[in-house]
Symmetry: C2
Subunit: 88 residues, 2 copies
DNA sequence: ATGTGACTTATAGTCCGTT
DNA sequence: AAACGGACTATAAGTCACA
C-alpha cells in the first residue's frame, strides 16, 4: 500500500470518525474543500506540511496519516458464514 | 515535533544507518541530490509520493519517516553529573 | 455534502554550479 | 561527501463554477 493511498484512507477515516464534512475540515485547516476531496480520492499528492496542518485540526499525530489499516478493513469484506461473533 | 522535522531526522537516520551518501540515495531514488540535502536540513517540504520512493530505496515503510524519535535522541543531551547508569 | 473540470499561483523538485 | 545558490520546470495548492 503506497503513501498516497494511506493518506487517502486515513484522512477519510479520521474525518468521518469525527462526523465532520470535507467543507468543515477544509475551512478549519485553511485549505480548499476541493483539495480535501482530491486527497481522499488519491488524486492529490499531499506535502508533509499540509499533513501537519490537517493533523493539527484533527488532533492526531502526523504519522496517523500513514498508518496501515488493519487487514480486512480496506473493503469491508463480507463476513464468512458461521457462528455470529460475540459482542466483545 | 512537526512533520518536516520528523522527516529530516528520520531520513538522515535511515540513510546514515545504512552508510549511504546523499548522492547515492538520491541517484537510487531518482531524486536530486540537492533536494535530499534540503530535506535533511528541514528546508524542503517533501510530498508523500517522494517519501514513498525514498522508503522503497531504504526498504522501510513510509510511516518510518514520521516516526517520533525516542526522547533523548534529538540533541544528544549531555548527561547530568551523578551515578553512572548501569548498562541495561 | 461531495466530485469534477478548468484555471491560476505558489512551491516542490531539477540541474547547473561553487564553497 | 555535504551545504548552498541561482535559474529553471513540474506539480502541489488554492479558487471557482457547476453537476
Amino acid at each position: 500500500m503506497n503513501g498516497r493511498t494511506l493518506v487517502a484512507w486515513n484522512l477519510r477515516r479520521l474525518r468521518t470518525e469525527r462526523g465532520v464534512s470535507q467543507e468543515r475540515l477544509a475551512a478549519d485547516a485553511g485549505v480548499d474543500r476541493a483539495y480535501i476531496s482530491e486527497l481522499e480520492r488519491e488524486r492529490g499528492n499531499a506535502s508533509v506540511d499540509l499533513l501537519d496542518r490537517l493533523a493539527g485540526v484533527l488532533s492526531v499525530q502526523v504519522s496517523e496519516f500513514l498508518r496501515v489499516p488493519p487487514t480486512g478493513s480496506e473493503k469491508v469484506k463480507p463476513l464468512r458464514a458461521g457462528r455470529k461473533p460475540t459482542t466483545r
